[in-house]
Symmetry: C2
Subunit: 285 residues, 2 copies
């Protein structure tokens, strides 16, 4: 048995094949250009193996509603070459094996749930804070989904009193992603976050927004773990600032697990997504 995994990001695709024990045998990184170019390289890689099933965790928005006519499509992405592309269909047609289909962040949530920081829990939420903000959740062992997948990076948040940045989201301006993703930090201060590492105020404001989102996720989902990944979280001081701010904003109302257990980083680090894809491949019939 061999499983294939595609972690399809906006800038690169990471593809991997594993054995039945989910041990990765080979992995490649392929630039995200057009569906034709990128998938040709994906197929060239997978063609070396006989795969039993494949798991895809894709950048979005994507259609995950099995009842929909465009199930398996990338939908309203700003990456025009991928807009309305039948990604799942293309992979299914190429290999004729079962293919699991979800978002990149759902895959990462599932990876952390089964093999990472949320191992042993019954639910978790994974949030990545990087060039965008995206989240996925596992509830009772299943990836959370309704009429579509979560878009929890676009949460509407209240402004920090010392911040008048208008926000960078083309849809909502100052939603969470518009005000707290990497590009928002860069646009607000005219410098990248990595060049602002020692500016305390920058990270206090960042923590205010992220903690506010975490409070709202908690009030709605009460996941057993919240896992924070992505490039912005490489600012290691941020995690404790978020916990402080979370405590203030929650004001003792909900008795969460102890915050050091509750708000954590991904144990699988940057492998959460690819591991989630392999797990979903292994479970796809």
């Amino acid at each position: 048995m061999m499983y294939g995994a595609i972690e399809a990001g906006g800038t690169k695709f990471v593809c991997a094949v594993s054995d039945e024990q989910l041990e990765i045998k080979e992995r490649v990184s392929i630039p995200t250009t057009t569906p034709e170019e990128t998938l040709k390289q994906v197929f060239d890689f997978f063609d070396q193996y006989t795969l039993n099933s494949i798991g895809i965790g894709s950048f979005g928005p994507i259609d995950v509603n099995e009842k929909s006519a465009t199930y398996g499509y990338v939908t309203s992405t700003p990456k025009t070459a991928w807009k309305n592309f039948d990604f799942l269909g293309a992979v299914k047609q190429q290999y004729g094996v079962p293919v699991a289909w979800t978002t990149d962040v759902n895959a990462a949530a599932y990876g952390e749930y089964k093999k990472g920081s949320a191992r042993g829990a019954e639910s978790c939420l994974y949030l990545t804070i990087g060039t965008g903000i995206g989240g996925g959740a596992v509830v009772d062992g299943k990836v959370l989904s309704g009429f579509g997948h979560p878009e929890m990076g676009h949460l509407l948040v209240r402004m920090h009193p010392d911040d008048d940045f208008k926000g960078a989201c083309p849809y909502h301006g100052n939603c969470l992603e518009g005000i707290a993703a990497g590009p928002a930090i860069e646009k607000r201060y005219g410098k990248k976050g990595t060049d602002l590492a020692d500016d305390k105020k920058v990270w206090e404001i960042e923590a205010f927004y992220l903690a506010q989102a975490l409070v709202n996720y908690t009030l709605i989902l009460s996941p057993e773990k919240i896992i924070l990944g992505g490039g912005v979280m490489k600012q290691t001081k941020l995690l404790s600032l978020i916990k402080q701010e979370f405590t203030k904003l929650m004001a003792g109302y909900v008795d969460t697990p102890s915050l050091d257990e509750y708000i954590v980083t991904p144990e699988l680090e940057d492998n959460a997504g690819i591991m989630g894809c392999l797990l979903m491949a292994s479970e796809e019939k």
Copy 2:
């Protein structure tokens, strides 16, 4: 087969017994005073019947975590007589039959999911806007729960630009409940909502807060239906104002079901909770 239901609210308990087809045979309303007084009347009512199982939908916060030592307790409620009261234990001890245990709003969500506005959907969210704001959700046929039950009425929201009310929530000040529940309206304007029925601005502001919460619920849960109940929703103009504001705030980012199908009122009206309790009783083993 007879089922019992307790919809335990902060001001009154509604109790009902039904036959196997969930047809209600008798119903009573009992004032919520102390656990001893109130439950004595509940038991006097149920003692007339031989019940196979009971469903409780209780005001909260309550402990719904089966792994917890205080599972079945009312926890940090401001109603001091009920604080740390083993509600589920008291009912189980009295009758020795299976007892289902959840929040009042989860019960209402489940009632609407099985027999009301969300019939045929796989998920829904029920929000009541009255003396407080509370919500429950059903995901894949199960009441949504994590380390605890949702407390989605306390969502942190951004202020309306024309509103400087400080809010009435003892924990969060201007969270959703603190700024948009019935008592918040009364405190802000010095009049009850029913006496402000014709003041357009009042309901525009109210719709702004509720729509904002609905956008955030949608971004996280994408439920197939959102059902709005409770006393404040008796202001019938509010529903269309909420839909207008939802459209503005979502800004076309998520392709929801058509809003007339998506944001609706409870088909079971004020029976959603008691019907949910009976349904849960009928399914409790």
